[in-house]
Symmetry: C2
Subunit: 293 residues, 2 copies
């Protein structure tokens, strides 16, 4: 992959992050209004950093299919809120029990467990409120399906259940697809749906999303092994310590790297069938497999 | 209140419960499909009993305003799922720490905390998926607003924060309105919205909902004191033990009874401004203030 391609992705992600963070500030309730502490906790987790990958994918798909208007910002913000909701609940002592996230104390460490549970709930609900403002019920249905037990929540559940167990590659595929790829797929499908893309085009972008989503999680597994805690902003090596179902633990590090590259190639091959300018999505795919945190 | 009025409410609630429970069975994923244990937990909590008051209110408002079609069943099921989601998260050790609910072990006691957190999340998400199937984005927006930090979640947060503290009547009003009345209001507004009611009629039904919702919670507070654990299906006297902000604790038992009756009268007076047959709603209001569990 060429450096200019990666630079395009970095620029697009950074521009989108800046713009969408201004929207978070607009949409998130003020910490000076009751329940103050809950509003403070929601903002703390939403402004703890992150690549804002999901909003960028919503926007890139929306633009690719010629979307017009401002409603896409509701969806972009909603996708990041849902991602943050899942992180807050995943970090809870009774789930993954993580103390650090993006170099900062996790929500329950900072605000207590009850506030973390309710703060996650509140972000999930606010995300649906924002989605409703787009007026597109079909987009809400797609999103809920990708989030629920046949999507992200299903992946989280199986991830917890399989901790410390010897698992097959099929199980790792199930977990990775559901816990990570489903929401990445959803981001692209919702951007496309809001732009009025055809069912055929939405199917293509969904396949692209599935491949880059899986690649994203394989790279995550690899980084957990090869990176330092400082680079990651969370505890490195924690997957192995907990006996998490990961690619490297099942097929080894080298085969995992090859798998990530194969998924990248599958993803960009999907884009050949589309007519619009797919440059941004290609660059983000490249960024996903070459990232170091 | 006449006995025949209460009988009408009991019959309507019982008929609706039977019909809507068949829909739950249809909409809830099968426990034979992964994540099996999560699906089992969702069904356990949804089928643990309950009056199914919120679905009945959705249906009664829908019928009052001449609603036609089957989409109301999605909304009825969604409202009960959201109520159940709130109970599961409220019962968690880090929130209210309740072991029993409706005479059975709470979700986290039966399935563990991680499954309870994710099962609650999954019911919330499935509720929005079902709401999306109505195709009415406005109804989803109303619902999310009533559920979020300016509604139910806000009430739960303040309820937890105020435990063990001396509070004013204003604070008790805030907590009761938000944690209980907001979702009861939402049930009525969504039934009305799906039926195509006017903004003016929705405003009236919302005021009715606010009054019966508050009355419902005042009666709940009273029953926690005067009933036995067996009658309630949950620990009687637990509010006082925890120093919960309740009406009896702030204004006493007799004044609380008077307050419930005043709210009942305010509620039914609202209905006088409506043209349709308000018999069912009047009977449910009477049932709410005379119930014993």
């Amino acid at each position: 992959m060429r450096t200019e391609e990666q630079n395009l992705a970095i620029q697009y992600l950074s521009d989108t992050a800046k713009a969408v963070e201004a929207k978070f500030d607009e949409y998130l309730p003020s910490p000076t209004i009751e329940p103050c502490r809950l509003h403070e906790a929601m903002r703390y987790s939403m402004f703890a950093g992150g690549k804002r990958l999901r909003p960028a994918l919503v926007k890139a798909a929306f633009e690719l299919f010629g979307g017009q208007g401002e409603s896409v910002w509701y969806a972009m913000s909603a996708l990041e809120m849902l991602h943050t909701f899942s992180l807050i609940h995943d970090d809870l002592p009774c789930v993954d029990n993580d103390d650090m996230r993006r170099g900062k104390p996790t929500a329950h460490k900072k605000f207590g467990e009850a506030t973390a549970v309710l703060g996650g709930d509140a972000l999930c609900i606010l995300a649906f409120e924002l989605m409703a403002k787009t007026g597109n019920a079909k987009a809400i249905e797609i999103l809920a399906r990708q989030l629920g037990t046949f999507g992200m929540i299903g992946g989280e559940m199986r991830d917890v259940e399989c901790e410390g167990k010897t698992v097959t590659l099929d199980v790792v595929d199930y977990i990775h697809y559901h816990k990570t790829a489903a929401l990445i797929e959803a981001s692209l499908c919702i951007g496309a749906e809001l732009a009025g893309a055809s069912a055929k085009d939405i199917e293509i972008i969904q396949k692209f999303g599935k491949s880059i989503g899986l690649a994203f999680q394989v790279v995550d597994d690899i980084l957990d092994i090869v990176s330092t805690t400082e680079q990651l902003g969370k505890d490195a090596g924690s997957d192995e310590e907990r006996g998490k179902a990961t690619y490297p633990s099942v097929i080894g590090l080298e085969a995992s790297r090859e798998r990530a590259m194969a998924l990248y190639r599958e993803a960009i091959a999907e884009l050949d069938a589309l007519e619009g300018n797919t440059e941004v999505l290609r660059s983000i795919a490249a960024f996903i497999v070459t990232r170091v945190n």
